[in-house]
């Protein structure tokens, strides 16, 4: 579903990513791990077109989208919940969902589906997103990314700084989404969450891939060693 090859990018003259390869298949969870500042967010932002790629390619569903603007990638079926559970703070929860659902043939149903997936959001529909707790905002962020019915869901640390009970709910939703055939590209720092969900694991260090393979072949000890490099 997603094929990233030899991706290079950075900020101005500062290169952050060097020749990164990642692939995600439909219905699978590909987990990207690495210590703080190794370039995980930069990778996802480049995949989504928020940062231009300096080299390499991003192919989504057989189409080269390396130069496509972000909204075109999103409309072609790539959903993204960026790091830090970002929402449109001055808009209500419902408006946040509508913004991403506008223009869909069945936007009402699409929003309803998300409320079934995240029942905690239903009583909050008319509340400003800026007033939500971190956990609620993260659920809204994922719902917003899912509302247009993407075939690829890109998530950047969805469990960061969120209370354990909601982490469990979010983990369950990610599992359900993948089970429906959506490809999931997940950046996750918590080893337990990552290894519990992942089909494949890619470990980055200093902007380069230092490990890549099936999650099943990666022992906890090996993973812990890679992340502590």
């Amino acid at each position: 579903m997603l094929e990233v090859r030899g991706l290079c990018s950075g900020y101005g003259r500062a290169r952050v990513l060097f020749d990164v390869d990642v692939a995600v298949r439909a219905g699978q969870v590909a987990c990207v791990m690495g210590r703080n500042g190794v370039g995980k967010t930069t990778l996802l932002n480049t995949v989504m077109g928020l940062i231009p790629a300096v080299g390499g390619s991003v192919v989504f569903d057989g189409v080269d989208v390396t130069r496509a603007p972000t909204h075109v990638r999103v409309r072609s079926g790539m959903g993204y919940a960026p790091q830090g559970h970002e929402t449109f703070a001055p808009l209500t929860v419902l408006e946040n969902l509508k913004v991403a659902a506008d223009g869909l043939p069945r936007s009402g149903e699409a929003i309803e589906e998300q409320l079934e997936l995240f029942p905690r959001l239903r009583p909050l529909l008319n509340r400003r997103a800026g007033l939500l707790s971190g956990g609620q905002a993260q659920q809204l962020a994922i719902a917003r990314a899912l509302v247009a019915g993407p075939r690829l869901l890109v998530l950047d640390e969805p469990t960061e700084g969120i209370q354990p009970s909601i982490v469990a709910e979010i983990v369950e939703v990610i599992g359900q989404v993948a089970a429906r055939g959506v490809a999931v590209l997940l950046v996750e720092q918590y080893l337990d969450v990552a290894l519990g969900l992942a089909d494949t694991v890619t470990v980055l260090d200093a902007g380069r891939v230092v490990h890549s393979g099936q999650a099943a072949d990666l022992s906890r000890e090996e993973a812990a060693r890679l992340l502590a490099v």
């Binding site: 928020l50 972000t70 993204y80 449109f88 001055p90 913004v99 991403a100």
Partner: protein
């Protein structure tokens, strides 16, 4: 006895203050979009107002519409003309200078000068006047205060524009998209919004409102190449004092400035009034640098 006189004098200035406020509000409403929300310092906004005023002139003097309803045609026509002009400027020039406020300022200042010269070439340097519709002649006298219909019309027009803007932003689909882009461009793009198109739409609206302000100005004075330029500094101040991009704040700031202007002027004359108003604004911004309401905008990067 003296205090009663003073109070009466102040009260007499109330309608003047309100109508100055309404004109300022119309001038500032468009800036509220382009400057307040997008962060673009468009120095040519005053010239867009001027183009709007000349649109009203053209509707009567060239097209030959009778003054009885030319005003009502000129309002939407000016909105379209200056809106499209603003759109063309955004797409052709200003867009390439996003995130560079100083360059934008110089660029749009230059555009303003070009537009003024064009107006001189097309309409001549002397002011022209646009006859007001007969139904706006005269006025009301309430409690000893004279309220000209033309001023009341401007007040109503400003109220209608504020209401339409508020409705558009809070209720319409594209207003929602606009708020989303203003709050967080990247998140908006990630939500499937074509942010460049929304920038263009925001500019169209802001510029179109300048045209409406220009038509309103023809009701209270003659039209010349520098019509509008006179209002631009005050309009920017209104947007800053109101708290960038805050509609409520813009409305309050416009009327506060209008009233302050009108109250101070009888004692001090027009130019000293400006000084007093500026001083008041500086003091206000010292106390409340974020404006009346909290800023919730993101400059374009």
């Amino acid at each position: 006895m003296r205090t009663v006189d003073t109070i009466n004098q102040l009260l007499a200035q109330l309608p003047v203050g309100l109508s100055i406020g309404a004109v300022l509000l119309l001038a500032a409403l468009g800036l509220n979009f382009t400057f307040g929300q997008m962060g673009v310092i468009n120095m040519a906004h005053g010239e867009l107002i001027m183009v709007g005023a000349y649109t009203a002139f053209v509707a009567q003097a060239w097209v030959g519409l009778p003054s009885s309803y030319a005003l009502l045609v000129a309002l939407p026509a000016a909105f379209a003309v200056t809106g499209l002009l603003g759109l063309a400027l955004e797409a052709g020039l200003i867009r390439h200078f996003y995130g560079r406020p100083l360059d934008t300022l110089l660029l749009t200042f230059g555009i303003g000068l070009v537009l003024q010269q064009l107006a001189r070439d097309v309409f001549g340097a002397p002011n022209v006047s646009v006859p007001a519709p007969p139904w706006l002649a005269g006025g009301l006298t309430v409690a000893g205060m004279h309220l000209p219909y033309a001023r009341l019309f401007i007040l109503a027009l400003a109220a209608a524009c504020v209401a339409a803007t508020a409705y558009y932003l809070s209720r319409s689909r594209s207003g929602r998209r606009m708020r989303a882009v203003i709050h967080n461009r990247d998140l908006a793009a990630v939500s499937g919004i074509a942010v460049r198109r929304v920038d263009a739409a925001t500019f169209f609206l802001g510029s179109g409102l300048a045209g409406v302000a220009g038509v309103a100005l023809t009701l209270i004075g003659p039209t010349g190449p520098t019509t509008g330029t006179n209002y631009i500094v005050d309009a920017f101040l209104v947007v800053v004092v109101g708290g960038l991009g805050q509609l409520r704040g813009t409305v309050l700031a416009a009327f506060a400035l209008g009233l302050l202007n009108a109250m101070v002027e009888p004692w001090s004359g027009a130019s000293l009034a400006k000084v007093v108003v500026f001083a008041a604004i500086i003091v206000f911004l010292q106390l409340r640098p974020q404006g009346m309401f909290t800023v919730r905008t993101r400059a374009l990067t």
